[in-house]
Symmetry: C2
Subunit: 364 residues, 2 copies
């Protein structure tokens, strides 16, 4: 692996000084921004995350701000979810699709006001899609990337740490809901969400200048909780079945293929709805499945074909050894003919051919 | 600097095996894909590029394919350049802007047919903008990212090397024109273009499986020409005044600010035209300028404010020492009040404050 060079284009974040001081060992680039991927080791990071509490620089989850009289109209155009059911303090996981039903991104929408939404992005400039729609339709809505950088606090001690910094009000925040809570005199959106299943929060930090003060406050308050710098963890997120856009699914996949059909419930005529009608009725031809891969596996840096009698019946793009479950956990996109739990296939890795078995469910 | 991990999301290219074998020392990520940034050292790479010939994996210049009856109509919507003047074998540098005239990308458009264009992208998912427009307008045009990976052959010996592989026909290709030339029985678009001013070509390699055979053929044919693996070179491109979208200009800049006003000549009512009318008449308030920075400078990994009497009058996002010209060459966006050649300003770097002087022109 070679090194990565930041530039104005490959952006540092408000928390980069803290991340560097904490000894980050590897980055990825996500929405033109640095995203840490490992501090100690992926294994040690995972073990710590499951026991204590971590602070994650997930600034790379950039926001698209839709603000103006037509903001809701635009949201209804791109959201397969029923926007009229969204509560005022709610966060909505929204698979966004093109006119053929192909996934363009899977952001979390945050409702700030009736005329103001943020889309917290997976990797991809969905801003440009939304902007193209708004311009072509002549909608009265401003589409911007605001100076907002999410900071995640994840792990079983997250409630305790957050309560020490933001007060006990954080304990009452429900899953995928948020409260506006003050830090240094500025209200911040604090949501119970995050890209792990260890519990925790995401703080949408407005104003880059507030980044390091909050980072430092969390580490100071959490010294006796064994707080550490962390990041989305490959092992924990595969065990948890959390999908990565660009790896596990792309534009050639539909929400139904991704197991996200339950989020396609909008009564509106949203983009892609007609194309998805068939899969809504009959289900997809292939779908995301948890898999165990037998034997030693190399790092999964691309995609591995799943084979049955030499014919490709799917692929795996996320796989890693799980110390907790003592197996290689994997996420695959598998054809209907081979997606039943217990089905055994062959899988072609750079380290040689292995066998892979479909599981009943993800590990948590 | 930390290492970068490829994944299915951070894509390898058809030429990655060749790049790795050639000893790449650093990558950036560009359009969700690995882009090499240094092989020997940036200085040695630059010196070699100016004397010999290099093969560059610029697969990260991903293509957006616009194909269908409404392709030209869509191009006219997004192109500030007069599409009716585009020759059948032409490549067009097209600054693409939003409704406010803000730069969204600066691709090279390739005209493959009257109803088929490629946009060879700078870093950013312009596909999503074009797709949003096409869907909202109900245009009859397919918007896809095809399996096309550009390979650049750059340097003073590029004509000789290319002639050995593609035949003497390459010598007659004019600047920003292309010919379809066969390699292993498959016609490829070969254009006289590339992100250096050392001369050369870009081959739009269709079909990933053709990547390494072409790479190998070029190295075999060029052994006595001292051919090497290279990549867009920071020193050479700053000396040459070649702009990097995301660093030197972004969505808050107009084509006029980028010195690209000459490309805004379309008679059509393209997106952003009305917003640009004022700058078309009176010029922009700030503009790209070549600068020399005095003294030692650290690596430029962000942006450095230009200051006059403590007030910010611009910024620099590209700067490096040039061994050939024995100065620190830089690209800045400078306010009208301070953009005249010879103007001296202060500049704030991580290594301390320096002085910067506006130059008459770039170094080549």
């Amino acid at each position: 692996m070679a090194v990565i060079f930041p530039s104005r284009r490959v952006r540092k974040t408000p928390f980069t000084p803290g991340v560097e001081a904490a000894g980050v060992k590897g980055y990825t680039v996500y929405n033109h921004m640095l995203l840490p991927v490992v501090f100690d080791s992926v294994e040690a990071d995972a073990a710590h995350l499951k026991q204590h509490v971590q602070v994650w620089d997930v600034s790379a989850e950039r926001q698209v701000s839709l603000k103006g009289p037509d903001a809701l109209r635009l949201m209804k155009l791109i959201s397969p979810r029923d926007m009229d059911r969204m509560a005022d303090d709610q966060c909505y996981y929204v698979p966004t699709v093109d006119h053929n039903g192909g996934m363009l991104n899977d952001p979390v929408a945050v409702k700030l006001a009736q005329d103001h939404y943020w889309l917290s992005l997976a990797d991809g400039d969905l801003l440009q899609f939304v902007l193209g729609l708004a311009i072509a339709r002549g909608l009265d809505v401003a589409i911007e990337e605001p100076d907002v950088s999410p900071l995640a606090v994840q792990g079983p001690k997250a409630d305790e740490l957050m309560a020490r910094v933001f007060g006990d009000a954080v304990r009452d925040i429900r899953f995928f809901r948020y409260k506006k809570l003050p830090f240094m005199g500025r209200d911040m959106v604090v949501a119970r969400s995050g890209w792990s299943k260890q519990g925790g929060f995401e703080i949408y930090v407005e104003g880059s200048e507030n980044g390091m003060p909050l980072w430092d406050a969390l580490f100071e308050a959490g010294a006796d909780l064994n707080v550490r710098a962390g990041c989305p963890n490959t092992i924990e997120r595969i065990e948890s079945g959390l999908l990565s856009y660009g790896s596990d699914m792309r534009r050639d996949n539909t929400p139904y293929e991704c197991g996200l059909g339950k989020f396609c419930n909008s009564p509106e005529d949203y983009i892609g709805k007609a194309a998805l009608a068939d899969q809504a009725r009959s289900g997809p031809r292939r779908q995301i499945r948890p898999l165990v891969i037998n034997g030693e596996i190399p790092p999964c840096t691309g995609s591995w074909p799943l084979l049955a009698q030499g014919r490709q019946v799917g692929q795996v793009a996320s796989a890693v050894f799980s110390p907790e479950f003592d197996v290689n956990v994997a996420i695959g996109m598998v054809d209907r003919s081979h997606w039943d739990a217990g089905t055994v296939m062959e899988i072609e890795t750079e380290g040689g051919r292995r066998t892979a078995t479909v599981q009943e469910k993800f590990w948590r």
